[in-house]
């Protein structure tokens, strides 16, 4: 019986002659926002959709802001920032990229990685998934590994054919090294060597971070 109800519900969900109806259902993600803010976010999401950028991600960002009790203006700014990050990530990684890769790419961009690095990562791995590489890259930079060092490390690891598990293990070890007081750059370089990859050059002592 429950199965039958589930199917009927599914069928009901599928009666959607126009795309707009589907869109409006996603709109409930904005229920916790005031009407003016919700309207603005919706407009931004529509622009994103028109550009082929994953728009649901933007609605989720707004929902996230609502849960975190962020002021409406901040939510709108965050949604726009995510939109441009997703847009640039999609260009840099290529339109064939999966939503996960684009999302991870946007995360890397927002942490400070350059679009150029994303494009070069894609050149190194045209067919394979860059999702984990980008997540690890964003994590390292967020932990204050200099952008140059982290980017070069990931590019080299990628070129050497490092697997996703290796990258995750690298990340985890760099994290614990940093907690023990090792400098983020040094931790990255030494753990990269542990992977059998040539380390990037040590950054100058008086680096920006």
């Amino acid at each position: 019986m429950r199965r039958a109800i589930a199917f009927l519900l599914l069928a009901a969900a599928l009666i959607r002659p126009s795309l707009a109806r589907a869109q409006n259902a996603d709109r409930h993600l904005l229920d916790r926002l005031d009407p003016a803010t919700a309207e603005e976010v919706w407009k931004i999401a529509e622009s994103a959709r028109a550009q082929g950028v994953p728009y649901e991600s933007l609605l989720l960002t707004a929902a996230e802001g609502a849960s975190k009790h962020a002021p409406p203006e901040r939510i709108i700014v965050a949604v726009r920032e995510r939109y441009t990050a997703l847009s640039v990530a999609k260009e840099a990684l290529g339109a064939e990229s999966t939503p996960g890769e684009i999302s991870a790419g946007a995360g890397a961009l927002m942490s400070g990685v350059s679009a150029d690095t994303l494009a070069r990562l894609r050149q190194m791995r045209p067919k394979g998934s860059l999702l984990v590489s980008l997540v690890v890259l964003a994590d390292l930079v967020t932990r204050r590994v200099p952008v140059e060092t982290a980017s070069t490390a990931l590019l080299r690891a990628s070129r050497m054919g490092a697997k996703d598990e290796d990258l995750l293990r690298l990340r985890s070890r760099v994290e614990s090294d940093i907690k023990k007081g090792v400098s983020p750059a040094a931790a990255t370089i030494s753990r990269l060597q542990g992977l059998g990859v040539n380390p990037p050059p040590t950054p100058p002592r008086s680096g920006p971070r």
Binding site: I44, S47, A48, Q51, I76, V77, R80, E81, Y83, T84, A85, S87, V88
Partner: protein, 181 residues
């Protein structure tokens, strides 16, 4: 993302990229316009027009100019235009009782700015006020100001000096009045 990159994305069709520029600069420009025009409504009108012009004029923006400076030039011009329109219509308004009452009620409902800085600024002629606000309010350097206003650096320095000389005693007097509290 840099201003130039956002401009490029806007020109490529992403109006939301321009939204990022609005997020960055609208509040700062609002402050300038409010101090320049002395009135929130006028400032808002000037700002809306300025940003629409900026949006339309983006294809003409050249990356070697700082975007902020380019934008401010538009804002400065829009403020001048609006002030000129207001001045012209207010000259004619002297005879029109209805309009006089409208102007008076606009002032009463608090859209005018009333702090001591503003009352002192109101006593400066527009060119001096503009130069002073760009230098002391927006803290720009003279080269940038020259690009924004079309005036020479020496002319701007002169205006700022004259503004400063006139403002200083006015602000000191107001300051003394405060100090007495």
């Amino acid at each position: 993302m840099t201003d130039a990159e956002l401009v490029a994305r806007t020109c490529a069709g992403e109006v939301e990229a321009f939204g990022r520029l609005v997020d960055r600069y609208y509040d700062d420009c609002t402050r300038f316009a409010r101090r320049m025009l002395g009135n929130r409504d006028d400032a808002e009108d000037a700002l809306q027009e300025a940003f629409v012009h900026a949006y339309r004029g983006l294809p003409r923006y050249q990356e070697r100019d700082a975007f902020r400076g380019w934008l401010y030039r538009i804002v400065v011009n829009e403020c001048r235009r609006l002030a000129a329109r207001r001045w012209r219509s207010e000259r004619h308004m002297v005879r029109d009782q209805d309009v006089l009452e409208r102007v008076a009620s606009r002032e009463e409902n608090g859209r005018e700015l009333h702090d001591e800085l503003q009352s002192s600024l109101e006593r400066l002629e527009p060119m001096l006020r503009e130069a002073f606000l760009l230098k002391y309010g927006e803290e720009l350097d003279y080269e940038e100001m020259a690009r924004m206003t079309g005036a020479s650096v020496s002319a701007l320095k002169m205006r700022v000096k004259r503004a400063r000389d006139r403002l200083r005693p006015m602000l000191e007097r107001e300051g003394e009045a405060d100090g007495a509290r």
